[in-house]
Symmetry: C2
Subunit: 320 residues, 2 copies
């Protein structure tokens, strides 16, 4: 994590006393959650997650995220549920940061993705899209196509340090994406960051989704494209068509996609690759070496982008 | 932490199956524990800590540490108890590292030390010393006086980058310590690293001690001196005599110290300051900037050393 906020024991006791969850028996800082500081909290009433929001999350967005999670949970989408304090609020302050308590979600995220994981993911993603249909708040996707040129500008003059010719290649691809980006596909609430470490399983069963802090209003099919990039490539960079097939087929059992959505998958997958490539590239070049962050390789997403550039139609994603 | 080992879910399931603790419902990497990778493990049977030993712990020492913890726990010293697998063993392998499972200890370590914390600590430390008296294994303290000159040599030529004249000051102090280091004080098992983050409390009650991975055979009074340095100085560097009084008086209620031990406290406190100063200095100068470690300020211990250099007798530690 980039920052990790310590909590003074007396402050924690005062904070917990605002809730009806009993006294804290332990609070253990946990490793997961890149954007925030998370503690696993044990009280006499059970297990909870205590989240302190660090600078990377805009406090103005928190009401959207928390309301969304409550909305989804009320529709039986398994996710950590914000716990209301005695005064009915879900958002308070602790150690000078916005803070909230969530119910604990059993499970572990899968380290070695199997096709059945992708099947479970597809169903859960489609259910989440349907459950969000009547959610009334909106949040624009500040990491979609309109943000990519400014992002590229910030890294362009050093991109070739990562790979010779990268700046020019990205420039070309970006122009193409800007020209061809779809704008009339079905939209609603998307997770926008549903990587394996945000999806929990116990054995073969998906137990829930976490980390909605990139959630926004955007095209459903773009969310599918993000998942396809995150779940269906092997460590050696090759595309696993069996995994993509499971993801897409399972998704459409719950929410079928239109012909337009299907036809747009290749360009959306290129865009999804561009989005993660650009943020990783910036972090790679400009994160101070002593920050407590594991930098992720931007070229992993360059390889994914290259794959999708060669795709001629959605059938190459394993749709018969 | 310097290293953090990921565990593949299938490997974890295979590992857990060797124990009678039920299936894993979750395994969450936790932030604490600088030397090892620790996971908080939830199974149907309860909560456990899963520890993977990283390179900083010598595997040859693990039998000593694990036997010691079992010995202490059998004498009602509250600490995480190693869980035996079906085959009776406490040490196995996971993700290519030695690994063990421990019972979960409730509590949090105190972030803001109050005198009552020092009182509880004194009693627990003395009880631990008594409980270890009949422990038959031995492990020499490889971070005691004989190690300090080689340690200083490794940092001496760059010590002045941290503070002008530091190398010379340390050289002088070290010569003094080598001449005056006591060698006939009561000895036995000491913890040797009982900083606040290794002592858990629920409210005012001490619930247990953790992290015995520096434990060794050495002078009991040296262990007290380490604690005095770690618990009785304020953030501004000043010595809090009320805290030291509580630590020492509470300790001697359980195990009284001899006149020799008392008279040696100032030199032991200087030595204890030297030991942590030297390891911190080396880490400060030579830990790569991109290691996932928060480097600790060596000069904090220089200030403590300076304080003890000015002490003329043990009564200045708050003993009436």
């Amino acid at each position: 994590m980039a920052v990790y906020t310590e909590i003074v024991d007396e402050d924690l006791a005062t904070f917990i006393a605002q809730y009806e969850i009993g006294e804290a028996l332990s609070a253990t800082g946990i490793v997961e959650g890149v954007e925030n500081s998370n503690y696993l909290l044990n009280t006499k009433e059970g297990r909870f997650i205590l989240t302190l929001y660090e600078n990377r999350v805009d406090p103005a967005d928190l009401p959207f995220f928390l309301a969304l999670i409550e909305h989804l949970a009320a529709k039986d989408i398994a996710c950590p549920l914000p716990v209301r304090a005695r005064d009915g609020k879900v958002l308070r302050e602790l150690s000078n940061r916005p803070a909230a308590i969530f119910t604990f979600l059993a499970g572990m995220w899968p380290r070695r993705i199997q096709p059945y994981h992708c099947g479970e993911l597809g169903k859960a993603l489609a259910r989440m899209h349907l459950a969000g249909e009547d959610f009334t708040l909106r949040r624009s996707n500040d990491l979609s196509v309109q943000s990519w040129r400014p992002l590229l500008c910030r890294s362009a003059d050093r991109a070739d340090e990562v790979q010779q010719g990268l700046a020019e290649d990205l420039e070309k691809e970006l122009t193409n994406l800007e020209l061809n980006w779809p704008d009339s596909l079905p939209s609603g609430v998307i997770h926008a960051d549903l990587f394996p470490d945000n999806v929990f399983f116990v054995g073969p069963r998906l137990t829930g989704l976490i980390d909605f802090y990139f959630a926004c209003t955007d095209m459903y099919a773009y969310d599918i494209a993000i998942c396809m990039n995150a779940w269906c490539f092997e460590v050696d960079g090759s595309f696993n068509v069996a995994k993509a097939n499971r993801l897409l087929m399972s998704y459409r059992v719950v929410r079928d996609f239109s012909d337009d959505e299907l036809a747009s998958l290749p360009v959306l997958a290129r865009g999804a690759a561009m989005r993660f490539l650009l943020t990783r590239l910036y972090d790679w070049l400009y994160t101070p070496a002593d920050a407590l962050v594991t930098k992720k390789d931007p070229l992993e997403y360059w390889k994914k982008l290259r794959f999708h550039q060669g795709v001629t139609g959605p059938e190459e994603y394993g749709l018969a």
